[in-house]
C-alpha cells in the first residue's frame, strides 16, 4: 500500500512540476499577475508530494518491504537502520528520487528567501526549475521507477553494497547532490534573465549567494568522498582520477570559475554574458556528472547503448537542457552590454585569467574522462587514460593559478599600478620561493625542484592571503564577512597545495608479507604484526589484524585493520577496512591484504605525511563559502529592493 502511495505521489509531483514549468512562464510573458502568483504555491505543492514519495521509499526500506524490487536489491533483514535509510540513495532509482527531492528543496528555498525579487523574474526562475523537475520525474516514471513491485515477495533481500556501508559515504551523495542541484539555481537565474532580456548586475547579486552555498556543499561532498576512499578502499590514495570522481570535479571547477566571475559581474558590471555562459556550463556539468555516474555508461557502454530507454532519455534530456539554454544564450546574449571599463592590469583581468585557467583544467578532465567512452561507443577500441595524464595536466595548470592566487586579491579593480604591486609582493615572492626550494633539502638532503615549487606555492598563497587580510584590517574598521570568507577559502587552498605536494613526495608505502611476531620498519615506524582474530559484526564477519606501531622503541599506537565479509549475499563479498592513526603532520595507515597461510598475511603499510591537510584545506574552503554568504550585504540589498 505504502509503495503505491509513493508512486502516486510521484505522479502527482510530476503533474505539478509541469504546471510549475509552464504557467508562471506564460504569466510572466503576458504580465498576468494571477498566473505569476501561482509560482510559489505550486513550488510548495511539488515539495509536499515529492517528500511523500521519498518518505514512502524510506519507509519501505525501514520495514523491510521486499515486495519493492529496489528495497530487495539494496537491503536485507540484518542491515542496520542507518544503512536502510541511506540505502534509499544507494543506487540509481533512489538517487534520482533524492535528486528530485533536493531540487524541490532548492526551488522552495528560492521561493522563500528571494521575496525581494521582481515577481516576473521570480516566476521565470521557478518555472525553469520546474522544467528541470519535469525531466527528472519523467526519467523516473518511464525508465527508473523506484517503487517497482516484485512477485512473489522474497523472504530476505540482497544487501546494500558493503562499500557504501560507511558513515562517510552514506553522507557523501546527499552533499554532492546538494552541490550539483544547487547550481540549478544559478542556471535558472541565468536562463530567466535571458528570457526576460534583463541581464543587469543585480541578477549576479541574486545568484551569488546561491552559487556559493551550492559550491560549499559540493566542496564538502567531494572532500567526504575522497576521505572515504582513503579510509575504505584500502589503497591509501585520496584521489584516483576515476571517471566517477572526475564527474564531480568538473562541476566544481566550473563552479569555482563561476563564483569568481560572478564577483566581477556584481562588483563591476563586466563579463556579463560570460558569467551567464558559465552558469549554464556549471549546471550542464552537474547534469553530465549525475548521468555519467548513474546511467551505467561506465559499467558498460554497450549496456547503455542497448538499453535504449534510459540511454536515449538521458541523451534527449541533456540535449534539451544544454542545447536549449545555449541556444537561448546565442539568441539573447547579443543584447547584453557589459558596462564596466577596465585596463589590462586590474583585478578584472586577474579574475578573467582565473576563469581561463579553471576552464582549461575542466577541458583537460573532460577529455580524459569522455574520450575513452566516446571511442568505445564508436567501436574504435578500448582505451583508458592513465593517471599520469591528469597529474601532469594539473601540475601544469596549477602553477599559473597559484601565482595568480597571490596577486589577484591584492590588485585593485579597474586599474592598478604594477610598481605598487611589485613593491608589495616581491619580498613575499622571493621569500616563499627561497623557503620552498630549501625545505626539501632540509627534510632529506635532496634538492627537489617540483616539491620545492609546490611548497613555495603553498607558502606564497598563505602569506599573500594573510598580507591582504592585514592591509584590510589596517585600512578599514569592519571586515565584511564576504572578505573573510575569501580569506578562509584561499588559506584552504594553501593547506591543500602543501598537503598534496608533501604527501606526493614523502609518502612511503610498502606491501609486505608478515608472520605473527614479525615486524617491518617504514620511515622510522616499526610495525609489529601481532596476529589475526575473528570478529562478528552486526551484518558481517571479520578477520581483524593487530599491528603494534612503535618509534624508537616507544609504542605509538595499535592498528586494527579488518577484512570483512558481509552476510546476506549469496557470495559474501570481501571488504577491506583500513586502520588509520591520523595526525596533523602524518597518518600511519595499515590495510589487510590476504591470508598467505601459516598465519602469515600480506599487509599494506603506509606513512603519509601531511595528508590530513588535503581535507583540512577542503574544509576551510567549505567554511569560507559559508562565511561569505552570511554577509549582511546580500540581505541588505534584498530589503532595499523590497522597499
Amino acid at each position: 500500500m505504502i509503495p503505491e502511495i509513493g508512486l502516486f505521489a510521484l505522479i502527482i509531483a510530476f503533474g505539478i512540476s509541469i504546471i510549475q514549468g509552464i504557467v508562471p512562464l506564460v504569466g510572466a510573458a503576458r504580465n498576468d499577475a494571477t498566473m505569476i502568483a501561482m509560482a510559489r504555491p505550486v513550488a510548495w505543492a511539488q515539495l509536499l508530494f515529492v517528500s511523500i514519495a521519498y518518505a514512502a521509499l524510506t519507509y519501505s526500506f525501514i520495514v523491510h518491504d521486499f515486495s519493492v524490487q529496489y528495497v530487495f536489491q539494496h537491503s536485507n533483514l540484518v542491515q542496520p537502520l542507518m544503512y536502510r535509510i541511506s540505502g534509499v540513495w544507494g543506487s540509481h532509482e533512489g538517487s534520482m528520487l533524492l535528486w528530485a527531492l533536493i531540487l524541490s528543496l532548492w526551488t522552495t528555498a528560492v521561493a522563500v528567501f528571494s521575496r525581494g525579487l521582481p515577481d516576473a523574474l521570480m516566476a521565470r526562475v521557478l518555472a525553469v526549475m520546474g522544467m528541470i523537475s519535469v525531466g527528472f520525474y519523467a526519467f523516473m516514471l518511464w525508465t527508473s521507477n523506484p517503487f517497482e513491485r516484485l512477485f512473489p515477495v522474497p523472504a530476505d533481500g540482497n544487501s546494500l553494497n558493503p562499500l557504501l556501508q560507511d558513515p562517510g559515504l552514506a553522507l557523501h551523495p546527499p552533499m554532492l547532490y546538494m552541490g550539483y542541484v544547487g547550481f540549478s539555481v544559478a542556471f535558472a537565474f541565468a536562463v530567466a534573465a535571458l528570457l526576460g532580456g534583463k541581464l543587469d548586475a543585480t541578477w549576479a547579486r541574486w545568484s551569488r549567494p546561491w552559487t556559493t552555498v551550492a559550491w560549499s556543499f559540493l566542496t564538502f561532498g567531494i572532500a567526504l568522498g575522497s576521505w572515504w576512499a582513503y579510509n575504505e578502499l584500502g589503497w591509501g590514495g585520496w584521489w584516483f582520477w576515476d571517471p566517477v570522481e572526475n564527474a564531480s570535479f568538473m562541476p566544481w571547477l566550473v563552479g569555482t570559475a563561476l563564483i569568481h566571475s560572478l564577483a566581477s559581474t556584481e562588483k563591476r558590471g563586466v563579463f556579463k554574458s560570460w558569467t551567464v555562459l558559465l552558469a549554464i556550463l556549471a549546471f550542464s556539468m552537474s547534469l553530465l556528472g549525475t548521468f555519467i555516474v548513474r546511467s551505467g555508461i561506465l559499467v558498460s557502454v554497450h549496456a547503455f547503448a542497448t538499453d535504449p530507454s534510459r540511454g536515449v532519455f538521458i541523451l534527449i534530456f541533456l540535449c534539451v537542457a544544454v542545447g536549449g539554454s545555449l541556444g537561448l544564450y546565442a539568441w539573447r546574449s547579443g543584447t547584453v552590454v557589459s558596462t564596466g571599463k577596465f585596463t589590462w592590469f586590474s583585478r578584472e583581468t586577474a579574475l578573467l585569467l582565473n576563469n581561463i585557467i579553471l576552464l582549461t583544467a575542466t577541458a583537460a578532465v573532460f577529455v580524459g574522462t569522455m574520450y575513452p567512452l566516446v571511442v568505445d561507443a564508436l567501436g574504435i577500441g578500448k582505451i583508458s587514460v592513465g593517471r599520469p595524464y591528469f597529474d601532469t595536466m594539473f601540475a601544469l595548470v596549477s602553477m599559473p593559478l597559484i601565482l595568480l592566487l597571490g596577486i589577484g586579491p591584492v590588485m585593485r579593480w579597474k586599474s592598478d599600478n604594477s610598481q605598487r604591486l611589485i613593491k608589495q609582493l616581491s619580498v613575499v615572492f622571493a621569500a616563499s620561493m627561497a623557503i620552498g626550494i630549501i625545505l626539501p633539502f632540509v627534510i632529506d638532503g635532496v634538492f627537489n625542484i617540483a616539491t620545492g615549487l609546490g611548497l613555495a606555492g603553498g607558502l606564497w598563497i598563505a602569506i599573500t592571503t594573510l598580507q591582504s587580510l592585514y592591509h584590510r584590517i589596517k585600512t578599514s574598521s569592519r571586515i565584511p564577512l564576504a572578505f573573510s570568507g575569501m580569506i578562509l577559502a584561499h588559506l584552504g587552498m594553501a593547506f591543500f597545495v602543501i598537503g598534496v605536494t608533501t604527501v606526493m613526495t614523502y609518502n612511503q608505502e610498502k606491501d609486505v608479507r608478515l608472520e605473527p611476531g614479525a615486524s617491518y620498519s617504514l620511515s622510522g615506524y616499526d610495525f609489529k604484526f601481532m596476529g589475526v582474530k575473528n570478529l562478528v559484526g552486526e551484518n558481517y564477519k571479520a578477520e581483524q589484524g593487530h599491528l603494534e606501531v612503535s618509534k624508537d622503541g616507544v609504542k605509538i599506537t595499535d592498528l586494527f585493520p579488518e577484512k570483512r565479509a558481509y552476510v546476506g549475499r549469496a557470495d559474501p563479498m570481501p571488504m577491506t577496512e583500513a586502520a588509520v592513526d591520523a595526525g596533523l603532520f602524518r597518518d600511519i595507515y595499515a590495510a589487510m591484504g590476504e591470508s598467505l597461510g601459516n598465519g602469515a598475511w600480506s599487509l599494506r603499510l603506509y606513512y603519509k605525511p601531511f595528508i590530513g591537510w588535503i581535507w583540512l584545506g577542503s574544509l576551510l574552503m567549505t567554511l569560507g563559502g559559508i562565511v561569505a554568504i552570511s554577509d549582511r550585504r546580500y540581505r541588505q540589498k534584498r530589503s532595499k529592493i523590497q522597499s
Binding site: 558498460s300 585596463t343 592513465g386 595524464y389 563479498m573 591484504g593
Partner: protein
C-alpha cells in the same frame, strides 16, 4: 620602456593565447603518452600488442593456475579469453575480489619471455560485475571458434 595601453592589452591577449596553446600541446602529449590500450590474450598471441609500452590485458583467471611465492608477495597466474591463455606475473597485494574464475584486468607490459608483468591488478567491487573489456574479449573469442 613604456607601452601604449592597446599594446599592453595585445601583449596580454598574445600571452593568454600562447599559454593556452602551450597547455594544449603539453596536454595532448601527456594524453598520447598515457593512453592505455586494451588487448585480449588472443590479440597478444597474434602479436598485436605493443612491446615498448604499457597496456591493459583482461580475462578470466584460469582455475588452478595461481602460484604464490612462499616468502614474498610474488604471484603468477594465467588469464584466458576462452581461446588463448596469457601468463601474468605480479608482485603485491591482489584486490579483494581476485579469485580463480573471476574476470580481472591487469595493467603492465610484456617482458622478453612474453610474460605479462603487471604493476596493477584490478577487480571491480561487485561479484556480479565483469569488466566490460573482459566480457567483450570473451565474446570475440567465442565468435572466432
Amino acid at each position: 620602456m613604456s607601452m601604449s595601453k592597446r599594446g599592453k592589452r595585445k601583449l596580454l591577449v598574445i600571452m593568454v593565447v600562447l599559454g593556452v596553446g602551450l597547455a594544449t600541446v603539453l596536454g595532448l602529449t601527456a594524453f598520447e603518452e598515457n593512453i592505455l590500450y586494451f588487448y585480449s590474450p588472443t590479440q597478444i598471441k597474434n602479436g598485436e600488442a605493443p612491446t615498448a609500452r604499457n597496456f591493459r590485458v583482461g580475462g578470466l583467471v584460469v582455475e588452478g593456475t595461481v602460484e604464490r611465492d612462499s616468502d614474498s608477495l610474488w604471484v603468477k597466474f594465467d588469464l584466458t579469453d576462452g581461446a588463448e591463455i596469457m601468463t601474468v606475473e605480479y608482485s603485491g597485494i591482489l584486490p579483494d575480489l581476485f579469485r580463480e574464475g573471476q574476470g580481472i584486468v591487469a595493467i603492465g607490459g610484456l617482458n622478453e619471455n612474453n610474460i605479462f608483468v603487471a604493476n596493477e591488478v584490478l577487480a571491480k567491487h561487485d561479484e556480479n560485475y565483469m569488466p566490460p573489456e573482459v566480457a567483450d574479449a570473451l565474446e570475440a573469442a567465442e565468435q572466432q571458434k
